[in-house]
Amino acid sequence: MLTRVFNGIAARALLIAASILFLAPFAWMISTSLKSETRIMPRPGESIQWIPTTDKFDEQGRNLVTYNGKTAVNLGRDEASGKYKLLLEGSEVEAWEEDFTNQQRVGLHWQNYVRAFQTIDFPRNLRNTLYICFMTVAGTLVSCSLVAYSFSRIEWPGRNLLFLLVLATMMIPYEVELIPLFVLYKELGWTGTFKPLIVPAFLGTPFYIFLLRQFFMGIPKDLSAAATIDGCSEFGIYAHVILPLSKPALATTALFMFLFQWGDFLNPLVFLQDDRQWTLSLALQQFQSQHNSAWGPLMAMSTVITTPIIALFFLTQRTFIQGITMTGLKG
């Protein structure tokens, strides 16, 4: 009895500790995105600051500082001596910079977000990313469901062999296909357009063909038979019987594909050329490589790119987790 209680407490403690570790980077990202430059690079000896702060000023705009444990006003620097003049309890004192610290109050530095949006054409990148996401999801749903239907709901010779081929191609690393595809698209004049990113989605993706095929196989054959007796064509059965019953699997497919495309980096990197075509992932990476110490704006941009996806995840959580377990267990 006691061991069970202890197990419960120990488990809870471990989970809380692990949760803190896992959430820390997120908190750090948001915190940094709201800090000003001076707060992002603390002075040596200062501990980590989680809550963004800004300097405190008095009514005349002068910094309030802490000196010897008391509050003072920073009157400015004496160029000759190099020391700062502070107004402490009515009288002036001199102090070196290291001897006092600026007082802080909680303050969110939203300028990082402004600067991020000024440096990168965010609306355009967002539009590009959304366009690619929606087109590829549409293409995947149409093509993969049709092909999966063929592998599961129609009996024809050679079907299983072709399905094995689908599985085999899942093993091919994308890098092997990338170079000739690049050359091919170049010949076709498609590089520098969105076509290399969108067209393949309409030609079937092995992973989703597999997923949908497994799902379709679970639908009772009687339903197809009944529809045939009612005079339904094969396509009619596909559209009016199978598809409506497959909403969970289709939703999972759409979600996974959307997520993948939202964050895809290699394809935009290789096939897009004009910075007006950049997706969000590409834009962030380029921003980082050009301004690699602008941590405030970088974290602001990261937060902005991540938030919609996390929101989408929370809205569709159950579908998500179900989908993952579907792929992991039906293997």
Binding site: L15, I48, E177, P180, E234, G263, G328
Partner: protein, 296 residues
Amino acid sequence: MTRSERRNLRNGLLFASPYILGFALISFYPLAMTAIYSLSDYDAIKPPAWVGLDNFLRLTTDDRFWTAVKNTLFFTVASVPAGLALALALAMLLSLKVRGQAVYRTIFFLPTIVPLVVSSVLWIWVFSPENGLLNGVLHQIGIENTPGWLTSRAWAKPALVLMSLWGIGGSMVIFIAGIADVPQSLYEVADLDGAGPLTKFRHVTLPMISPVILFNLVIGLINGFQYFTQAYVMTNGRGDPADSTLFYALYLYRSAFYYLQLGYASAMAWIMFIVILAATLAVLASSKRWVHYHAD
């Protein structure tokens, strides 16, 4: 063939036609072309010039190639077992009747939702030697000599391994499902035999979830060998410092699109394909000894 059989054949092929076309264009054609390029000298401007096995021979004496191989092996060997262990541990914890399971599960899964570029940029910042989160925490608990992480030849790869642990949420979720599938009756029988929790784990849980372990292991290996985005973003595509993070896929990318040696890169691509295939087959073959498939 009867009329309905012929109709089925026609419909079957028709419905499958997107993939048939796709396979021809996106799998077969590129595979064949990569094989041809790998035996040629090709810079994407002049047509490919046949050089036979020259590219492959050059790879054997290319120091950077072997560095890339070693880096990729190190990363995979370090991150995959550690990742599986952590995912399994968290999955076990979440399978106990703890309150707020769904919340914890979400928390651990969240990092896998984040686009890889975002994680990479975020973790560059976390690893920042002067102002990053990690060294900040280490300083606060009293550790003064903190590593340079991504700026240090010795610590760059371990840093990436550490970062990969953040993303084990996907395998964890699959483990959770696998653990939930283990029949409760087996645990009860073990209880009757006087088995403690560790024994139950070793002799009931592990064997019953071995198919799921196999799945996560194979996927983990394949992903480890193809590690690209994080390496590219975190080193500006270069594999710094001093090639310590030059991973195989990164070197392949650079050879193709930076040095414009498409033939050379294609040779590398085929080697990668064969290695991944061999590794997967080896794991699958070994699985006969330790994986138990249950009849339901």
